[in-house]
């Protein structure tokens, strides 16, 4: 190509000139989004990055027990059961220092996740190692607690020496790395999370399907009724949004509990025996009912916005061509609402999968979601941020996979939210 670049009247290349002209516009646009961008970055992106990091972070042990970690590098537990004297000396120094800095308890807690009892071992040792100041360290430590003489104790510490660990993720999928470095399933009685993930997915799926079944006719009415009637109906749909989530959930408790309104009614009409009242809340049933109710508007609104754009002439055209109302609906109306069903489903499903308050209140033992466990590990007695982060990331990955799957099947471009 010869020199064919376009120039402005005074010889500046057109592209340069155009870029300059658009620069001011771009800057203004950037400045307008900047507050939101910073807000999202600080409150959304950073916590996610932090969570990603925490799920593999294992710096507690190498940070608080640096000498021990170094000393254990040479030790091969398959050759010698217990590490050499140098490791005991390093441990004593680390514990003394950690006790001074009041950080030793954290190591104990961290090791406790892998091997119950380690927490008490470190608490006990922390107090007593103060007096140890000369060799033989090994005997001195074992004198404090027999467990220092056991290979298991040291193996756990050696296993947790690296700065990063996959143990949280393994735990989150009911697996573990044994001290021998083998990856195996957790013992049967400790396997909870896979089941929980599965239950969360299945229940979210049921809730999504229920919202479609209940929401579709309502959205259809909203889109086709005369404006005055449909406005009133719309207010009824939106009404739940103006009530507190807690109020809505607790009112379901009032309705469904064994001494609740519904059971009273059943007993009154003789449907169930007074001694045999139905358990409808604090189980899966209760969670599904309450969450279907709460998430219903998120299905109705996208459906409505799609249905609103379907001209009534489509149905009329189908009927003028000889299709009866049912056939016209199935062949012409419904295919045009697929994008709304898709948008509503993905919205409801993603909201459901991470729902916390409602399952926490009405879920009981069988109706809780994975998010309830995550919350327990963040704030409960069994605080374990690493595990909570790993569970959270798996949940996030699941949602992303579903999202991609949806994109492959239906196409995100076809989704209409409003």
């Amino acid at each position: 190509m010869a020199d064919t670049t376009m120039t402005t009247a005074d010889g500046i290349p057109l592209k340069v000139s155009l870029r300059k002209a658009l620069m001011r516009q771009k800057m203004r646009a950037l400045m307008l989004v900047a507050p939101l961008f910073f807000f999202l970055f600080i409150t959304f992106v950073m916590p996610i990055l932090d969570m990603l990091f925490r799920s593999v972070d294992n710096s507690i042990v190498p940070d608080i027990l640096p000498r021990t970690v170094l000393a254990l590098e040479e030790w091969d537990p398959d050759v010698v059961d217990v590490p050499p004297e140098a490791a005991f000396e390093a441990m004593v120094k680390d514990i003394q220092e950690g006790y001074e800095a009041k950080t030793i308890g954290r190591v104990g807690r961290r090791l406790n996740f892998e091997n119950p009892g380690m927490s008490s071992l470190f608490r006990k040792s922390g107090r007593r190692t103060k007096k140890i100041n000369e060799a033989p360290y090994k005997e001195a430590l074992i004198a404090i607690d027999d467990r220092w003489g056991e290979s298991q104790t040291w193996r756990v510490i050696k296993k947790l020496s690296p700065k990063y660990t996959a143990s949280y993720f393994l735990q989150a999928v009911d697996m573990q790395e044994t001290v021998d470095g083998e990856i195996t399933w957790q013992p049967e009685e400790y396997q909870v999370y896979l089941n929980l993930f599965w239950r969360t997915l299945v229940m979210s799926g049921i809730i999504t399907i229920l919202t479609i079944i209940l929401g579709y006719p309502v959205a259809y009415l909203l889109a086709t009724l005369p404006l005055r009637t449909s406005n009133l109906l719309m207010i009824l749909v939106l009404l739940p949004f103006w009530t507190s989530l807690l109020v809505r959930t607790t009112s379901w408790i009032a309705l469904l509990q064994t001494q609740g309104i519904l059971n009273d009614l059943f007993v009154l009409v003789g449907l169930v025996d007074d001694d045999d009242r139905l358990q409808m809340i604090h189980n899966q049933f209760g969670t599904i009912v309450a969450m279907t109710h709460i998430l219903l508007p998120f299905m109705i609104l996208p459906l409505y916005s799609v249905m609103k754009t379907i001209p009534p002439s489509y149905m009329r055209a189908a009927r003028s061509m000889g299709a009866n109302p049912a056939l016209a609906f199935v062949r012409v109306y419904m295919p045009n609402t697929v994008s709304g069903v898709g948008a509503g489903s993905i919205l409801v499903f993603i909201l459901a999968i991470g729902y916390y308050i409602t399952p926490a209140l009405v879920g009981g033992r069988t109706g809780t979601f994975i998010s309830n466990y995550i919350a327990t590990y963040i704030s409960g007695a069994a605080q374990n941020w690493g595990l909570a982060a790993a569970l959270g990331i798996i949940l996030l990955a699941l949602v992303l996979v579903l999202y991609l799957l949806y994109d492959k099947i239906v196409g995100i471009d076809n989704m209409k939210l409003g």
Binding site: P311, R316, A318, M321, G322, A323, P325, P335, N336, V338
Partner: protein, 369 residues
């Protein structure tokens, strides 16, 4: 034996709110093979009539007959009437061929027949290569053709068209008018066509029903409608029209003498739709029938006008004048050899023959003024 009517409206009335009538006592016959247009301003009841015929709106009173069978209680899908909608109503989730196949599949025709008929229909509208496309990939004109083909593919006796060309630009609209007319001529199908565009109605129809205020004002062939409007509304609505208000002074046979308001004097006109002597009337006069500077004694009616405005339109010069106090008086001066050359402000003699001016009903309150 009555004539072969494919559609008959008998005393049909329609009200949406129970307070006012949108269609007032409609009686209308559509003959087999006819292209009948319902023409009127919006709100005149023409679309409502079409919807009642299609079955999407129930008649409040009266009966509609299709092939002499009452159809008030026949649902739309059993009427077998083809329909073309204002915005085409092509199904966006189906290809063009699937759209055309829909009415045939619904009728459970064998697959081979469906394919053959779809192919023929696409050829009829000159889109044989477009079967695999989606409606969104077609231009407005192409969508329009597909919509016409879809309404005809199941070979109905009657096709309804609801302002089908409204969304097209002017050139395409004219092209499609001829095309639809040719299809009608070739297939011999009866068409009821609704539009508010009078040139469309005049171009395509065998007969035009001019609607206003829920009543058919005149039902006639296009040329009759234009040249012999029976009332002021039709004269006003069809084509361009000069209106001069006046009072009837004398009626003799088919003619009457009208004294114009505004001091224009007394003129002679055809008595079409007037009361007795002394009643008010509207004189209707087509702009192309006005003669400028008429020779002495050539026309009975001669008035003086002042030129207000000249608009050059190529084939003719549209001249706006003040005549007898009416300053919206239009004269079309043909751009022919040796035509009168006028300037704004000129005073000129103009006249017309009595047969070209029709004395019609006077405007009512709220009617076209």
């Amino acid at each position: 034996m009555t004539a072969d009517h494919i559609v008959r409206f008998e005393n049909v009335q329609k009200s949406y709110d129970g307070e006012s009538l949108v269609v007032k006592n409609l009686n209308l016959n559509v003959e087999r093979g006819e292209f009948l247009t319902m023409l009127g301003p919006s709100g005149s009841g023409k679309t409502t009539c079409l919807m009642m015929l299609a079955g999407f709106e129930p008649a409040t009173h009266g009966e509609i007959f299709l092939n002499e069978q009452p159809i008030n209680n026949v649902p739309p899908h059993k009427r077998g009437i083809g329909m073309v909608f204002q915005n085409y109503a092509l199904f966006p989730h189906m290809t063009v061929a699937e759209n055309l196949a829909f009415p045939l599949e619904v009728r459970k025709l064998p697959k081979a027949d469906v394919e053959a008929k779809v192919k023929r229909a696409l050829e009829m509208v000159q889109l044989p290569e477009f079967g695999g496309r989606r409606p969104a990939q077609l231009s407005g004109g192409q969508q329009q053709r597909v919509a016409v083909a879809r309404a005809l593919v199941f070979e109905p006796d009657l096709v309804l068209m609801d302002e089908p060309l409204g969304a097209l630009d002017k050139n395409l609209r004219e092209e499609m008018q001829y095309e639809i007319k040719h299809i009608h001529d070739n297939l011999g199908v009866s068409v009821v066509y609704v539009t508010h565009d009078q040139s469309e109605a005049l171009t395509m129809s065998n007969r035009v029903a001019v609607f206003d205020d829920g009543v058919i004002q005149q039902l006639a062939a296009p040329d009759v409608l234009y040249e012999e409007p029976v009332n002021a509304f039709v004269a006003y609505f069809i084509g361009e029209n000069n209106r001069l208000l006046g009072t009837v002074r004398e009626v003799t046979g088919d003619y009457c003498m009208v004294e114009l308001d505004g001091g224009g004097g007394v003129v002679k006109a055809l008595a079409i739709n007037i009361g007795g002597v002394g009643s008010r009337t509207t004189l209707s006069l087509r702009p192309e029938r006005v003669v400028l500077s008429p020779a002495e004694g050539a026309v009975p009616n001669v008035l003086t006008g002042t030129v207000k405005e000249l608009i050059y339109l190529g084939d003719h010069i549209r001249t706006r004048m003040t005549v007898s106090g009416n300053d919206e008086f239009i004269v079309k001066v043909p751009n022919a050899h040796g035509h009168a050359s006028l300037k704004a402000g000129d005073t000129v003699q103009l006249g017309w023959v009595a047969e070209d001016s029709r004395a019609l009903d006077a405007p009512q309150d709220g009617g076209p003024a």
